[in-house]
């Protein structure tokens, strides 16, 4: 877009119009216990409270009563090998308040997850089979390197 940078706020009309917004939002599990009508989001750093409200109302058709935001600074840590300082990205968190009668509970995605051991067995079987195939393929040409193939 020729207007891909965030436009400056000007008093009066016409107000800011966004043709193809490239903002992103994602729902996250709240760390602290929240009221049933409060949803916690992570969103693009440039989004304002008004942007968040408009985004949810216009794109997702979700009624929004109030939005509160905070910016959490990313952690500073040292690289394990070289020791230089790494800074994690800052995160903008939005607490969106829905109307009183609406409830949202973060779903348990992995509730009916299949047994991990079974999956691992399957992966191991696949790996074994692939290796056997590889051996069979090169059985009659022991003196040729394995990369020499079509």
């Amino acid at each position: 877009m020729s207007t891909r940078w965030y436009p400056i706020y000007q008093k009066g009309n016409p107000q800011l119009r966004v043709f193809l917004p490239n903002f992103w939002m994602k729902i996250v599990q709240p760390q602290a216990k929240q009221l049933p009508n409060v949803v916690q989001f992570h969103c693009s750093m440039e989004m304002t409270k008004f942007d968040i409200k408009n985004y949810l109302e216009k794109i997702y058709h979700i009624p929004v009563v109030d939005v509160r935001t905070k910016i959490a600074i990313g952690k500073f840590r040292r690289d394990v090998g070289k020791g230089y300082v790494i800074k994690d990205d800052d995160v903008k968190t939005a607490y969106v308040v829905l109307p009183k009668d609406m409830k949202f509970e973060y779903p348990d995605i992995f509730a009916n997850k299949k047994d991990d051991a079974e999956e691992e067995q399957k992966a191991l079987g696949d790996a074994k089979k692939n290796f056997q195939d590889y051996l069979d393929r090169n059985k009659h040409r022991t003196d040729v390197p394995s990369w020499f193939t079509i």
């Binding site: 995605i109 509730a111 009916n112």
Partner: protein
């Protein structure tokens, strides 16, 4: 048979939308005969749109089609592109949410290339829209309508490309910014002058070393390959004086001199 082919094409088109639930009703109106082939679920307009469909929860392998290509998007109308943008935007939000949850639970996020596919499709839409925008602006105003770029000299006296952006006040009113460009401002200060002197010296040394390196290399080449194609050598090292290089001591091999 023909009908079967057409319906297959339609199905294929629909499969290209990454999430069956979000398919826009493009074909539904134009071809009533094949209405049944197009799957159009009403969007549920809920916070659950941020999550994947329930059947994909906990799956380890989620197969999807490819992203949208430029040529496919170029034949779409503006309103179709606009709709598709929001489909992709929601899809990307959904994938981000699922990725975040998987990371939190220390699980593998199944098929992370889905995010790349959606992002690529969105980039392609932007490219197509930009093409149309530029064409429109050129036709109407004779300019591209792109963000203007200016060649400026930055505070360190180095040339720089400045992408123009909006400011609350005009340049001349911004006293803090203007001050550094005064006669006794930062740009003309002793510190910047010293920096420029050292910077130029460094650049000169880099050039000089490259020149000497090439000259030496040509001499050694002449020593090892006296019957070399001189025109090819000249083309490879245009800045080197080859006649001078031939006469030097370094270019003489263990044989009777050729030149």
């Amino acid at each position: 048979m023909n009908t079967a082919v057409v319906s297959n094409i339609l199905k294929y088109t629909v499969n290209r939308c990454l999430r069956a639930q979000n398919v826009i009703k493009i074909a539904a109106a134009s071809a009533p005969v094949f209405k049944r082939d197009v799957h159009t679920t009403k969007p549920n307009n809920d916070l659950m749109e941020f999550f994947d469909v329930k059947k994909n929860w906990g799956e380890t392998n989620i197969r999807v089609g490819r992203g949208w290509r430029l040529d496919e998007l170029r034949i779409k109308s503006n309103s179709d592109l606009h709709k598709l943008w929001y489909v992709l935007l929601k899809e990307r939000n959904m994938l981000y949410t699922m990725e975040h949850e998987c990371k939190r639970q220390t699980r593998l996020f199944p098929n992370p290339e889905r995010i790349d596919k959606v992002q690529e499709s969105m980039d392609n839409i932007e490219t197509v829209i930009r093409e149309r925008n530029v064409a429109y602006y050129k036709l109407e105003t004779g300019e591209t309508g792109e963000r203007p770029v200016e060649d400026v000299v930055n505070l360190f006296g180095l040339p720089e490309k400045y992408e123009k952006k909006e400011h609350f006040i005009p340049k001349f009113m911004n006293t803090r910014w203007v001050k550094s460009y005064y006669e006794h401002g930062f740009v003309n200060s002793a510190a910047v002058k010293k920096f420029m002197r050292l910077y130029k010296e460094k650049q000169y040394n880099v050039e000089r070393k490259a020149r000497n390196r090439d000259f030496n290399h040509v001499q050694h080449l002449l020593k090892r390959f006296p019957n070399m194609d001189m025109e090819a050598l000249k083309a490879e090292y245009p800045d080197v004086d080859i006649e001078k290089a031939k006469r030097t001591k370094k270019a003489r091999g263990h044989f009777m001199p050729k030149y």
